[in-house]
Symmetry: C2
DNA sequence: AAAATAAAAGACCTTTATATCTTATTGTAA
DNA sequence: TTACAATAAGATATAAAGGTCTTTTATTTT
């Protein structure tokens, strides 16, 4: 559905959103540890999001990633678009380049609805909206029991 | 959304369905040419579908792939499952292994609906049902103008 | 019935894309 | 001026996609 990059980017930005009280900063290391994302992979994705002005960053001691009031107006669709492009919203389910209303594949009309619905979820969800949801404690961004698996942690 | 393998497998079986009049046989070469799928890739996928009893095959001269009355009762979900597994129907959009009703991710409830709808389309579409749709000539399985692109053809 | 042939089945290899890791640089705050 | 943390380029590993070749099986044809 989404690439691993995009899953990681969404989880990362949601984690930052959850910790975005009065411009608090979150380090890539912190995100990587908490969400079980390879450190340098997370760092690269956060760079892309920062360059696209979807999140803000600050170098140096006590630096990290954070969200301004403006950043909080972005939707999750902006994140998906920055990492994976618009393929998930528009591509033919059978991968046909020239599939369209005038030359539809046998599943074209069935999937128009589904793709619109997927786009709607991402577009209608702004970071600001999702913030309280995250602070309620009823929703989770990581797997249960990760510490019980004897996996090597990145430095 | 779907892997390339799965896209190819679906297009292939739909092509066979379209040509499944009185047990007519279609060769892998034919499928590969018509749908622009690498020959040996198509052959491999057709093998998997034949082993799973989703399609039928016949070796030797005038052999090829075809559909019995029983084969025609299969749904597209059977094809997706045989090639990609059930991930598209059940996996968490953020890739969380332990995402569930009791430990939902922030997008869990939004995507339950979407995943059910996707499953419904594939499960509700049997080959038998889609056959007349394909024979109507209003739906297409390949791209327009492929012959205009100067691409190398497989032998 | 035997030989020739057509087409699927299967093992294995190469290429390409995605994901992950290494190392170095730059900017900022204390 | 030192330590911290983002930025950046590039290398390596892993997985997906695509390709080559051989074997098996069944149907023709002689």
């Amino acid at each position: 559905m989404l690439s691993k990059s995009c899953e990681y980017a969404l989880k990362s930005i949601l984690y930052i959103t959850k910790h975005s009280q009065n411009l608090e900063r979150v380090g890539a290391k912190n995100i990587s540890d908490e969400l079980d994302i390879p450190y340098h992979f997370a760092a690269k994705l956060l760079q892309i999001l920062a360059k696209a002005d979807i999140i803000s960053s600050q170098k140096g001691p006590n630096g990290g990633f954070y969200l301004t009031a403006d950043n909080l107006t972005h939707s999750l669709a902006d994140v998906v678009f920055a990492i994976d492009g618009n393929g998930i919203f528009v591509d033919c389910i059978l991968g046909l380049k020239t599939c369209s209303e005038t030359r539809p594949c046998p599943l074209h009309y069935e999937f128009i609805d589904i793709k619109i619905k997927i786009a709607k979820v991402f577009e209608d969800t702004t970071l600001d909206q999702i913030k309280s949801k995250l602070l309620s404690g009823e929703f989770y961004l990581n797997n249960l029991n990760v510490s019980c698996q004897y996996e090597r942690k990145n430095k």
